[in-house]
Amino acid sequence: MNTTKGKLLLSGERFRLTLERLCHQVLEDWEGFANACLVGIQPRGVPLADRIYQRLSALTGRSDIPYGRLDITFYRDDFRLRETPLAPYPNEMNFLISGQKVLLIDDVLYTGRTIQAALAALQHYGRPERVELMTLVDRRFNRHLPIQADYVGLAVDALDEAYVKVHWQETHGQDEILFFEKR
């Protein structure tokens, strides 16, 4: 295996179909997308959330789905444990989520700590009816907290040393999920 390039887990048509499936799953479970909003976690959940937003808008024929980008830097629990401070990203949440269904979106679900921080950050925008989690990759055996995703693109079982990275057309030239045995 080429450790510098990484092993390809998903790309091309299958990648597209996976996103398509995720959108349809949400629409099936939520009976359309009424009284619901999308929240992408900065920075890496946002490219996925952008795609899901576009597809859901097209599938439902709506252009008014509330869509926010949530920065969780100030809510993280590893502040003061890192060598350097974490860089915050722009937080773009211009609506309240009180009484709404929230679809929280991130690229890789690993320890669950990011999601915990995101849930803490979401509290500041009201009391949602419920929050569900969508991730493109679920690393099932590496959780530190009792957090599970409701919509999963691809489940990856790997050791802690391994690393899974998602590339996007917009930023990397192509859509793909790569697997590295070491960081």
């Binding site: 920065d71 100030f74 809510y75 003061r80 401070p85 860089a87």
Partner: protein, 308 residues
């Protein structure tokens, strides 16, 4: 992400340009936070900050306190007038007693120049200088430069005039350091008695002509006449000062273009600025106050991020 090159904020002199830019970028995020419906984040929830004010202050103290509260820090407030300082306790004893109660950061204002630097050599907490005598007032300079960046897009290459009582002003010295590090051209302007000779050695222009300075500058940062620090008379009367160095609506209207007017407060209306200047749309005095909270949140956040 980059970290600050220092573990205390004693003065702008110790900061690099990268430090200042990092503080500005972080402040951008906090400015968004303080405009949310719920203006609070939990970053500093495990940190206790002592605000030690050995000299009177309203704006700076309230601004720091708000910044600390919005980062969820625990706060201990201390003002010299109501403390054991009036019973003869030394600075080090006072602070050590407060630190024995497990305080992580100290924000201090003190009438003696260098008081914060002295403290930083003796105690383990992170120290933020909130003004030490006539020496430095780093967070004020940061928020001034940040407000200029917000209004004009950039600080580099801009012409900034600091007008008024330069001699007694810690804001002036910190502003000169900060603006120079960011690549601005700086000029100080005031009566000869209120501009120390050594300012020329800092590489700033010195002028005694307000009208000509206003024509030159993009931004006029107007300082208060600090009567409480003036042991002798540096000019005949406030009325005469206003006639020679006060800024009026007519003077601004006579210029060919709009300049930005700033003031660190508190304003002596009718002395260094007339009311119609202070309240005009060219004035960004209240934006400075708003930005002060964001800048102080950024400084507290970046200093507290030090690994424990």
């Amino acid at each position: 992400m980059k970290a600050l090159s220092t573990r205390h904020l004693l003065g702008i002199k110790d900061l690099t340009e990268n430090d200042i830019q990092l503080i500005f970028e972080t402040a951008d995020n906090f400015k968004e936070v303080i405009n949310r419906p719920i203006k609070k984040v939990p970053s500093l929830r495990d940190i206790t900050v002592a605000n030690l004010f050995f000299e009177s202050s309203t704006r700076t103290r309230v601004s720091f306190e708000l910044a600390e509260r919005r980062l969820s820090a625990d706060i201990v407030n201390f003002t010299a007038s109501s403390s054991s300082v009036s019973k003869g306790e030394t600075l080090l004893d006072t602070v050590n007693n407060i630190l024995a109660m497990k305080v992580d950061m100290v924000v201090m204002r003190h009438p003696a120049p260098g008081a914060c630097a002295f403290l930083s050599r003796h105690i383990p907490a992170n120290i933020i200088n909130a003004g030490d005598g006539t020496h430095e007032h780093p967070t004020q300079a940061l928020l001034d430069a940040y407000s200029i960046r917000e209004r004009l897009g950039d600080v580099a290459g801009k012409k900034i005039a600091i007008i008024g009582d330069i001699l007694h002003s810690r804001v002036a010295l910190s502003n000169v350091f900060c603006l120079q590090k960011l690549g601005a051209h700086v000029r100080v302007c005031g009566p000869p008695t209120l501009i120390p000779k050594h300012y020329a050695a800092l590489g700033v222009e010195v002028s005694h002509n307000v009208r000509q300075t206003l024509e030159w500058c993009d931004v006029a940062n107007v300082l208060r006449i600090q009567l409480e620090r003036q042991d002798i008379r540096y000019f005949p009367s406030l009325r005469e000062y206003h006639q020679y160095f006060g800024i009026t609506r007519q003077m601004l209207d006579a210029l060919q273009r709009d300049i930005v007017v700033m003031h660190p407060g508190p304003i002596n209306r009718g002395v260094e600025l007339t009311s119609d200047v202070a309240d005009s749309r060219q004035s960004i005095i209240l934006q400075q106050v708003e930005n002060g909270v964001a800048i102080r949140m950024a400084v507290l956040y970046l200093l507290a991020a030090e690994r424990t």
